[in-house]
Amino acid sequence: MEVTSPTFKQNAVHALADAQLQKALGNVRAGFIDKRRKAADALPEFDALRDAARDIKDHTLAHLDLYLEAYEEKVTESGGQVHWAETAEDARRIVLDICRMQNARTVTKGKSMITEEIALNDFLKLAGIKAVETDLGEYIIQLRNEHPSHIIAPAVHVNKDQVEADFRRAHDYLPADRDLTEPETLLDEARRVLRAQYFEAEIGITGANFLVAETGSSVIVTNEGNGDLTQLLPRVHIVVASIEKIVPTLNDVSQILRVLARSATGQDMSVYTTLSTGPRRKGDPDGPEQYHVILLDNGRTSMLGTEFQDMLRCIRCGACMNHCPVYHAVGGHAYGWVYPGPMGAVLTPSLIGIDQGGHLPNASTFCGRCESVCPMRIPLPKMMRHWREREFERGLNPATQRYGLKIWAAFAKRPRLYNFAASMAIPLLALFGGRKKRFSFLPLAGGWTRHRDLPAPESRTFMQQWRERESGKQRAAA
């Protein structure tokens, strides 16, 4: 997919002026924040579970090679096949090879951010293979020719009336006078249309929320059941997952599941939690004939052992973006690549480079709300700051910023000079502030005064006044 992260600022301006988007973003509070709060409050051990979840992933990442090999062995034992993909291109090629061997014309897809990361749908389309998204949100944005704006609610930026218009356009073979005014009627229609696709598809592709080393299982959690139909009905099931999805045991999965849905949607559990272990066995009533797992690296191993390793704990719940004031303001598309919000601000530069994704870790107030709700306790602001360090070291931030910072630092490092300069400048500024005691415009402060007044300094600096007060006291004592 096209990367527009370098134009984040312009993207944001467009997003702020988009009335439909702003209306849709207004639903985030009731839809996610309040529900997460209730779910977390209802579980006394919630914070202890977050610690446990963090520890499980930290342990796994410290022994990632070991668990990946153990996992591969188990998948093979159960009759499945593991494919290692170092790059997005490798992963796409492996998918295509399997499709070609099956003479596949149609693949159904469960919701998967990894297939967004490797831009699979566009690639398959060029190869003449139709990919059908079966998650309702994904289906909607596929009809709209868009990308997800949220990692668990891909169509969160779309309003109901827009969906109705999309359905009328895409399903023009259905009666024009049908009622599509309610969410339920939209859902019914999507279900009917998609049902046929499940039987048509030769291959079903899903992501994975977890890969279990102990059993060789892949785990998906969904609320619509579309993932189950995607992976059970076609002849072949392909799992595309990144390497950090691995966890050692089923017990570990069950612990992390307890924080996943609560953090994401405020549910105790997602409606469906589905484990797949190998292809259909003798005597199984259903299931695919072939089971493939494509393990994608795509830059993740280069994060190991660095200050960004903690990011690999992420379980993609979306809580960070749900609680992010910047995400609330501009939505997910402004971030310009696959992963939005705070987790995207850290992960995107790792995967596409800081020269491309540099805006994202800078566009944060460091309010810390993301870290405070992250079920895996990922120190997101700290890692955004690490990106800023790397950017600064490489001289990637704008020259005006660098010079401004250097001039300021030259004063801030020299207290006498600083206090002297401040004692000269501040009384003048206070004078200009006049009786209103504020500026509606001030040269060089346009970034501030374009949107708000600047309170003027009171009179003289604190240091000036304090020094006089102290010397006055000494005189009085003498």
Binding site: T365, K413, G447
Partner: protein, 257 residues
């Protein structure tokens, strides 16, 4: 012969650059409150800024130099107190991290950080102040600034002290714990996004029905007050220390009307 000053803790006031430049009376309010809590206050002249503009821009070399100056300037005090959750958070939580690769300075930074407190939490949590003697008639709403809230756990302390001020009624805004959009240099680097965030904030402030907005950080207050003024709002803004110290005769932040 008894010397009561023997027992009085020595507090170094970290004024913060914004208070120094824009609103010294917050500094004087802090001095008054700390003295009333039974401490002696001094203000080391060799202080400037906590270094966040450099640190948050990835310029660790300059941030380290500023941190070293600050640490040196405040040696010998029992406590270092700042009327800002953001600056106190920088001094307390981030200075040691700046010296991760320098064991000697790291130790010094940790010894320094252990003595650092945000003003209101110092009064309540360290000095055990449960009430103040100030009076002020107003309906207030209190914004929890992010760093103070999430790095230092400050939320109940200011509300507890404000409850002891005669004449005050607290009306909470919706989501007082949500960022105001200031974010230091963020507010000018990403001015349009910052504006969208502070617009939401001023809506909730207006909806609270309060006539006075309080917070513990001047940066956030200048942002919110600046927006309220631009919108023509009559709501005034002050630092929580001004009200707690009874220093409310002066013009509010950004002036009246």
């Amino acid at each position: 012969m008894s010397d009561s000053s023997q027992a009085r803790p020595k507090v170094g006031l970290f004024v913060t650059c914004l208070v120094d430049l824009f609103r010294p009376q917050i500094g004087f309010a802090a001095v008054k409150l700390i003295e009333e809590a039974g401490c002696d206050v001094a203000v080391p002249m060799a202080q400037t800024c906590c270094g966040q503009p450099a640190y948050n821009s990835g310029d660790n070399a300059d941030a380290r130099e500023i941190a070293q100056n600050t640490i040196r300037a405040f040696e010998g005090f029992d406590y270092v107190v700042a009327p800002s959750g953001s600056c106190a958070g920088m001094l307390k939580k981030h200075y040691p991290q700046l010296f991760a690769d320098d064991p000697a300075w790291r130790e010094r930074a940790e010894a320094f950080s252990a003595r650092v407190h945000e003003l209101v939490s110092f009064l309540t949590d360290v000095m055990g102040v449960g009430a103040v003697t100030a009076r002020h008639t107003a309906t207030i709403t209190y914004h929890d600034s992010c760093s103070g809230l999430r790095e230092l756990g400050i939320a109940a302390q200011p509300r507890a002290l404000l409850a002891s001020v005669e004449g005050l009624t607290l009306k909470e805004m919706q989501d007082p714990d949500v960022c105001c959009g200031f974010g230091g240099t963020f507010c000018v680097k990403y001015a349009d996004i910052s504006n969208a965030i502070v617009e939401k904030k001023t809506q909730t402030i207006e909806a609270s029905g309060a006539d006075l907005l309080l917070a513990g950080d001047l940066g956030c207050l200048m942002n919110m007050a600046g927006k309220l003024k631009r919108q023509g709002s009559a709501i005034e803004a002050r630092h929580v220390a001004e009200v707690l110290a009874g220093m409310t005769d002066t013009a509010p932040i950004g002036g009246k009307g």
